[in-house]
Amino acid sequence: MADVSLRKVIKRYDDVEAVRGIDLDIADHEFIVLVGPSGCGKSTTLRMIAGLEDISDGDIMIGGDVVNDVPPKDRDIAMVFQNYALYPHMTVAENMSFGLRLKHYPKAEIKARVTEAARLLDITDLIDRKPKQLSGGQRQRVAMGRAIVRNPKVFLFDEPLSNLDAKLRVQMRIEIKKVHQKVRTTTVYVTHDQVEAMTLADRVVVMNKGRIEQIGTPNELYHKPATRFVAGFIGSPAMNFIPCRLEDVAGKLQIRLTDRIAFALPPARAARYNALPRNDKLVLGIRPEHLTESHAHLGPGIETFETVLDVIEPMGMETLVYFGLEGTPVCGRVNPNAGATDGAPMRLAMDLNNMHLLNEETGAVL
């Protein structure tokens, strides 16, 4: 049993609330990612689970036991830090076995566990080196090895890939996923990188300003964001937000973006939004991949409009196009062969089946 529960957890620094009442249940074997911008309280939450920060209010439970006042060493957790935090005067093997040696494990078992972890992480050749002689990626492996040999109830990762270059980050991301598939230990992982969150997590917890915005699987967050913050945070390039309003034209519900551009809503969407007051200030949320080039055979719910592109960014497999709708910058993704050119007019298609409608004041997705 190694589920983790947070009940109304609050962290106050003097008169500033860094974490404002968090409720979270993490199941055994689950890989949970806490994601959010800097200062959203995600690292503080992790450190409270680790016991490195006291909690100001609420309860934290590991394996069913309240651990509020239990020191880190007695919580049976292992943590991987952003800057590795390896002991510079110890070799890789000594670093990895430090926790076990403190607990007076038999030497043979320590050796077996270190050898096994080193094999798992592919660092067997480095076992006698000092951290200084290792590259960033190797150091991060050792830090993970130090966590694995302990065989703890919970793994805690605090932005472990932030110090690595982009290529290595992708590689290590896959390594972390592989390791989790093998050891299946409950994992709480903190990152500000939404790609890491989406690729690693069983469930993602999006945090903002000390609160949880939404908890869900990566797919749920992507396709059914609960708030404007989540909608804008998950996905790259970010979702477009275009001010709009609803109107009834000839008995049909339509969405008006500009004086010139208005689209009839597809039946499913129309039914969903029909009850909304017509004069509310609303925002249309549409992801760039649902703004593509227009072509001859468009399905139902896909509407086209003419615009003048400001800038295009050819990415190879796709081209990002940027344009303005009454001063609101908008980004679309078109086929590289669609003939998009800087400053040229282009006919684009908007897939309204994948639209989101948000309340401008509350930011809630309707």
């Binding site: 490195l52 880190p72 830090f81 390896l86 005067h89 000092k130």
Partner: protein, 311 residues
């Protein structure tokens, strides 16, 4: 500056051959570096090397400095009981004082390190005071504190029915007092060095150790001490040298008494050489510090460079 000279060197190649080679020599970076460090080299030769060799020369003369006696002064010293007493006392004084200075510095540095922000600066400033007052002056204050009949110490102790203690009149207490004042004066140096070393240990190492299951004592033993090894070694060596060569504290408090039992190499060399006008013998005494300190230096600095590569 080096740039200019180098360029002049290049231009000069068109001139006559002899002048050219001189200019070329000036143009080499190593030559420039030598000339730039020459003032310092001259100072060291004048103030360190010359006196050192001169004292070796002096140590080989007779009392009137008229005749070369070779190692005569040394063999004479070896036969004197006072000399061996001074050797013993210097070692006791330096080792005891350095151990206590290091211990107190380490403990206080931990306390100061844990004081938050602004308050820490105040404490740091106050704790440095003993070290910044000229020791000759502060030792005078201690001299009054140690006075047998009118001092604050004995007055205070009298309330508890203790004393009066002959602070500077009894061999044990005189040695104790001299070491006490040296510790009081030198501990802030250790404090400030250790504090700097403590600040350079990343917090995350302690957090990692805490999660690995290390208690407070194990964190100090397995993280703090290994991370501070180099600073501890260098600070200890430096302090050992300075403490071994101490002069002013003993000179002011006891002048080596009672019955020479607090003499150190420096104070005894002064008494023998200057006060008893046997300069060659005084020089001979002071030379004895060299081999003892050299051995200590080799032991302490044995693998500082090796460890330096780890951090």
């Amino acid at each position: 500056m080096a740039e200019v000279v180098v360029q002049q060197g290049r231009v000069a190649r068109t001139g006559t051959r002899k002048r050219g080679s001189l200019r070329n020599a000036l143009g080499r970076k190593s030559t420039v570096a030598f000339f730039l460090t020459l003032p310092l080299i001259l100072l060291i030769v004048l103030l360190v090397l010359y006196p050192a060799f001169y004292s070796v020369y002096l140590a080989t003369l007779n009392k009137a400095m008229t005749k070369f006696v070779g190692l005569g002064n040394f063999t004479f010293l070896f036969k004197r009981e006072t000399f061996w007493m001074v050797v013993k006392q210097s070692c006791i004084f330096a080792i005891t004082a350095v151990v206590f200075k290091a211990l107190i510095g380490f403990i206080v540095a931990h306390f100061v390190h844990n004081i938050p922000g602004k308050k820490q600066r105040k404490w740091r400033g106050m704790l440095l005071v003993p070290w910044v007052i000229p020791p000759a002056m502060s030792t005078l204050a201690w001299l009054w504190l140690f006075d047998p009949s009118y001092s604050a110490f004995n007055y205070t102790l009298s309330f508890f029915g203790v004393g009066p203690i002959p602070w500077l009149g009894d061999t044990f207490w005189a040695r104790f007092s001299v070491i006490l004042v040296n510790v009081w004066y030198g501990a802030p140096f250790f404090l400030i060095m250790y504090l700097a070393a403590l600040k350079s240990v990343p917090d995350q190492l302690y957090e990692a150790a805490a999660i690995d299951g290390a208690n407070w004592w194990q964190r100090i033993w397995y993280v703090t001490l290994p991370m501070m090894r180099n600073i501890i070694a260098i600070t200890t060596l430096f302090s050992l040298i300075v403490t071994f060569a101490n002069f002013d504290i003993v000179r002011i408090l006891t002048s080596g008494g009672p019955l020479d039992t607090t003499h150190l190499f420096a104070t005894w060399a002064f008494q023998v050489g200057i006060q008893s006008s046997d300069i060659p013998l005084g020089a001979c005494v002071s030379l004895f510090m060299v081999p003892i300190l050299a051995v200590a230096a080799i032991f302490i600095l044995r693998d500082v460079t090796k460890r330096g590569n780890e951090a």
